[in-house]
Symmetry: C2
Subunit: 118 residues, 2 copies
DNA sequence: ACTTAGTACTTGGCTATACAAGGTACTTTT
DNA sequence: AAAAGTACCTTGTATAGCCAAGTACTAAGT
């Protein structure tokens, strides 16, 4: 149990959330996503991104089309589907709750129990 | 790929972070933690918490002592070790970075690349 | 004394993600 | 042709959280 591993675990699911957000803003291909995530200091490697994109597509949350490139092999440009947008909305709510809840714990504000504490 | 599962994944690592925070505030036993996490709307079940506590103890991040209870079997009261405090400090930094970074992505502020983007 | 209910802790099997490392394929440059 | 650069893909490993079932101790009811 080391810090690095726990940091990896912390990012689980969040990467998926971030990817969906990036795709929701318009057509992008994998390297665009990697650049944005890296710039935002959320490190992601190819071996994580590609399988994730495949999962998202199989789940019908995103779609893609091949586009020729002037400087290399063709690229897969991804776009959101309607299901993907709905999915993302739910994840956004979850993420906000999680940040708020964790913030309460961290800031030592013991959330007041609504009901009686026996 | 459903919302529930992704929500579970999102919490990975964060639960460990929250537990360490709670223990860092003073002696607590498992049910105290469950109550606080549940109140903060971070759902955790026994089957998650107990193995986690065992991992933390084996890693030397927390310690515990048995305390008799007036209303049931004895309880394990947990406390932080020095290693645990250092570990928690690193996780806190990671968590803050992650929230900030994700916030940037979500709020659509495409982080400006420092270097040229061809 | 025996049973029931409540509390506390434990364990085994399952699933899913992230990562490392290696691989395939297309295009341009030398 | 060969090398370099770009883009996409696959396999194997480790780990965390969940579900479900189980163990054990205490107090209260019969």
């Amino acid at each position: 149990m080391n810090v690095e591993n726990t940091q990896v675990q912390m990012r689980k699911g969040i990467i998926e959330f971030c990817i969906l957000h990036i795709i929701s803003r318009g057509e992008v291909y994998a390297s665009d996503m990697l650049l944005e995530l890296t710039t935002a200091k959320i490190m992601v490697v190819e071996g994580t991104l590609y399988p994730l994109l495949t999962r998202l597509r199989k789940a019908g949350l995103v779609d893609y089309k091949w586009v020729e490139s002037k400087s290399g092999p063709p690229r897969k440009y991804y776009t959101m589907t309607e299901n993907g947008s709905a999915f993302l909305a739910k994840l956004s709510a979850t993420w906000n709750d999680l940040v708020t809840s964790t913030g309460n714990i961290v800031s030592n504000k013991k959330a007041q129990p609504k009901a009686k504490r026996k």
